[in-house]
Symmetry: C2
């Protein structure tokens, strides 16, 4: 890990550069496969699944028998843990419900906003090195709380045509409607366009590799909404003398093991802390099965000492980290000054892995600096806010003349006439 | 307008087709200009402004003198009308503020969500046939209520290098920080990348033609967030025997005059209503200055009679209209069954133009069926929701084992270790 001492501000933007996330080289591949799926439906899905996942599927959909068997295969310890996580995630996302509030902006002019569930949503759960059943909880639970009618899940099967049992258990637990053995671009294309087997959805959620990300971006241009742009995962830690070097090192490593392109950054105002953390990182690293991945990620990473807490906050807001851990004495005060971050963890006993799994907050978060404008997945992500208005005849006599004046000034006379014709009928 | 009587369901999707909105033919142009702006900054902005808007600008930024002069040029009638609209828009968007609520998902595990303003936003206001100062109110007012620090506005100047006074007055009234004489792809590129004159922003809002839409989509792939995908404007009216044919015709026309690619659709269960509305449309049309535009839009439009209110609702939800007018006796009950719409207008005295200008709801709404997954612009559009958690040592002893079990099952041992190392230190 690169150690950086008191960098001047003109070096910050270089220091905060993220590993390259360019998708230019995969757009063409993604576009070609998406077009093929749009034209040829299931046949294309089966072809690419054979090509990329090395498995020949007769049935794309996971059967009830497979789900039942998976549920039996999951250990009771893991089931208990998943139930605790589910309960907390439900509690937190349930609390995000809002009430319809009618506002009378003028006498006789009633306006309100109502959150309405998106009818059908699609969840993508990657395969690959780790079976991410936790993401099934994070994406599936708020979909059900929102009231989405159809919740479709796609995840790749292994070379035997099987899906990880914990993924199927979690999907069944949270009430996913239908599960398909599809990965990568195929999954995104299937849910965007629909095929004979797979229904199309109105919004697609979930993480994935560069091909998945590129495919999500391409379909979002025209056909379907997506949760957010995605990039490699990252954590920033703000630490002062109250932080524990071993804890901080464990948090940096838990982010680093996600992928070789992950990035972890420590900011502190205590110079000696850099060495303490580095030593702990090196020591803890040795015991990790995903040591090689973590080591690669550490080469993208930085340990930075800054002059003041103010500088730490300024650099943090400039970086807009996906995960932010504040291990500082005044953690809550500092947190109030954070303007750009996905999810924030306060104090010494809130490891990032708590939010990754079980505390209740969502782990699908904006990466790559998108936290400057995007929220993480939350209940709102599964709903749209529709506005309503009901104006009484009296209300329109009060409001109407302003509308007429403005419409005329914008040279939109039919807009004006829609008011005039009503006022006239009332004899106004 | 095409009249359609009792169409069978297998003909609905064709019936509900929108005018083609393909951007494929403008992406290349937009990409080329955006690249040029990214590389050459202000020089490229000045070059394209000369080329497309026919005006040579020394200064891209509108000066305080220009703003002051514009404010004097706007009539007091129009100022009064704008102030009424501003007041109502403020009241409605202010009511969308949410409180931070701390949820204890388990003893010692506190989670909360906080809305935080996006630091800098950019508003695009088109030039063209109508000076859309109302859009300045709709986009600028919630930005200020949210607390965005920098609010940049771009709008094209006319061939004399001037911006419409009402646009400058509205911008100054709502507290826009800086105004630039830039239109089209140039405006979007400038706000996405930043130049010597124009600051880059984190999110770009506002309507525009196909070039603007294509440019917004392209920059949203990598550089900046955007409000929503945009398409031609549209209205659907649901009417029963309580509706007034003259009022309905005026609403259809106020949408039709927006652009030749606008679409207006009437659904009713009263067959004779089609002819009544058609006659009224033809009659009112004659008096409109934008008659030609409206007439073209009417060729994309339909008057449809259906068998039942249920069918009307089903077709409405399948279409997902940007604007929905419900001129029916049971308007509030019907409105409760609407699942896909941008903004809904109830009863005989809520013309769409009320929401376009002055009732308080926002007029920047999802078109082209995107209302199935997108909200219109609202206070949330200017904020992101950051989640926070603070777990006590006690809380982690309760929650920790579930995290350890789940992390191990996902084969992410560093995630597990971040908990284990803390529990050990506590002697657990």
């Amino acid at each position: 890990m690169q150690k950086v001492l008191y960098p001047p501000k003109n070096e910050w933007s270089q220091l905060l550069e993220r590993p390259d996330n360019g998708l230019e080289d995969v757009y063409d591949t993604a576009r070609g496969i998406l077009d093929d799926i749009k034209r040829n439906g299931d046949a294309a899905l089966i072809k690419y699944t054979r090509m990329f996942d090395g498995v020949d599927l007769d049935m794309l959909e996971v059967s009830q028998t497979e789900i039942d068997e998976a549920c039996m295969a999951v250990s009771s310890d893991l089931k208990d843990a998943i139930l605790i996580a589910k309960q907390n995630i439900e509690t937190f996302h349930q609390s995000q419900k809002t009430q319809r509030e009618v506002v009378e902006t003028m006498p006789g002019v009633r306006c309100w906003q109502k959150s309405v569930a998106i009818d059908s949503v699609g969840l993508y759960i990657p395969g690959g090195t780790a079976p991410l059943f936790s993401t099934v909880l994070m994406l599936g639970i708020p979909a059900r709380i929102a009231g989405c009618k159809e919740v479709v899940l796609c995840t790749p099967a292994n070379s035997e045509g099987q899906v990880n049992p914990a993924i199927l258990y979690a999907a069944s637990l949270v009430g996913v409607s239908r599960i398909f053995k599809l990965g990568g671009i195929q999954a995104i294309g299937a849910m965007a366009y629909g095929t004979a087997s797979v229904p199309s959805v109105a919004k697609i959620f979930g993480p994935g590799n560069r091909f998945v990300t590129a495919a999500k971006q391409l379909v979002s241009l025209k056909d379907v909404a997506i949760d957010m742009p995605a990039g490699p995962s990252e954590v920033m830690v703000l630490a002062d003398e109250s932080a524990d070097a071993a804890f901080v090192a464990s948090d940096l490593l838990s982010q680093a093991e996600h992928g070789a392109d992950s990035q972890v950054i420590l900011l502190t105002d205590k110079e000696s802390f850099l060495d303490e953390v580095e030593q702990e990182v090196q020591q803890q690293l040795q015991a990790l099965p995903r040591k090689e991945i973590a080591q690669k990620a550490l080469t993208n990473s930085r340990l930075v000492v800054l002059k003041s807490v103010e500088e730490m906050l300024e650099m943090c807001n400039a970086y807009a980290p996906e995960h932010l851990i504040i291990s500082m004495r005044d953690d809550e005060q500092i947190a109030n000054k954070v303007s750009n971050a996905g999810s924030v963890f306060l104090g010494n006993y809130s490891p990032e892995s708590a939010g990754d799994y079980a505390s209740g907050t969502n782990h699908t978060l904006p990466t790559h600096g998108y936290a400057n404008a995007f929220s993480g997945v939350n209940l709102d992500s599964y709903m749209k806010k529709i506005t309503y208005q009901k104006i009484s005849a009296f209300g329109l006599t009060k409001l109407g003349p302003a509308i007429e004046t403005m419409a005329e000034a914008e040279q939109l006379m039919a807009h004006k006439n829609a008011v005039t014709i009503r006022l006239k009928k009332m004899g106004k």
